[in-house]
Symmetry: C2
Amino acid sequence: MNEELKEESLIPAIEIDHIGHAVPNLEIAINNYQRIFGMLASDIKVVEQQGIRIAYLSLGNVKIELMEPLNDKSPINKFLARNPKGGIHHYCIVTNDINSSYDRSVSNQLNVLNKPTKGHHGRNLYFIHPSETNGALIEIEEPAKKQ
Amino acid sequence: MNEELKEESLIPAIEIDHIGHAVPNLEIAINNYQRIFGMLASDIKVVEQQGIRIAYLSLGNVKIELMEPLNDKSPINKFLARNPKGGIHHYCIVTNDINSSYDRSVSNQLNVLNKPTKGHHGRNLYFIHPSETNGALIEIEEPAKKQ
């Protein structure tokens, strides 16, 4: 880790929180990951605000977020139209001070998809347009509060 | 972690080693990740066997593997033709006994893309066809040897 590099960056990255995997059917994907990799899924959660049903698979160091569209207006429908069997949709980087990161992103003309909004887990998050990050959709999230 | 589930699975998953991000130009992507996220890249490595040039970005718990095609025969060209700006190409799951995992995969009719082969880092790896894993291309790798 180069601390100076971090301090000068727009969004100092700490770690990866999860990999987002869009699927047409959540239950099928959960059973499949369990059978192949022995991964146990969390309870399914409906996230109205993001138009998805999700479940997390925990894998020691990182989570896999399985996402299924909730309705016709779901923002992942377009992705699934292009990838009908599902696919890797985004990954999520954790940063310490999300509001400062967002402000630096905007003042440096980084194309962001939304202002920091509270996710279903209570943490603030925003997305960067993939054209800024070499084609990868990246979610920025603040760290989980220490219990 | 449910140990019984793991033992009964085809490829008991331990952790994520890296996220593979295919890009049209490695140097541009390295500079971009450094500027935006303060991530420092490893030296660039030419992997003839896989037809790619790669660099790793370390992020505490997980690596990001940036990959650029080496020539016209590179296996990531098709992906980049569909995603000209780049995109998330695969992610890599670590399993303890890769030969047993491979044998169980095959005897359970899982569509695998290759037999375990030594990667540039000296560890054995194979890929599963995305149709088996809900559209996500997943690489299976054995753990790094303890130094």
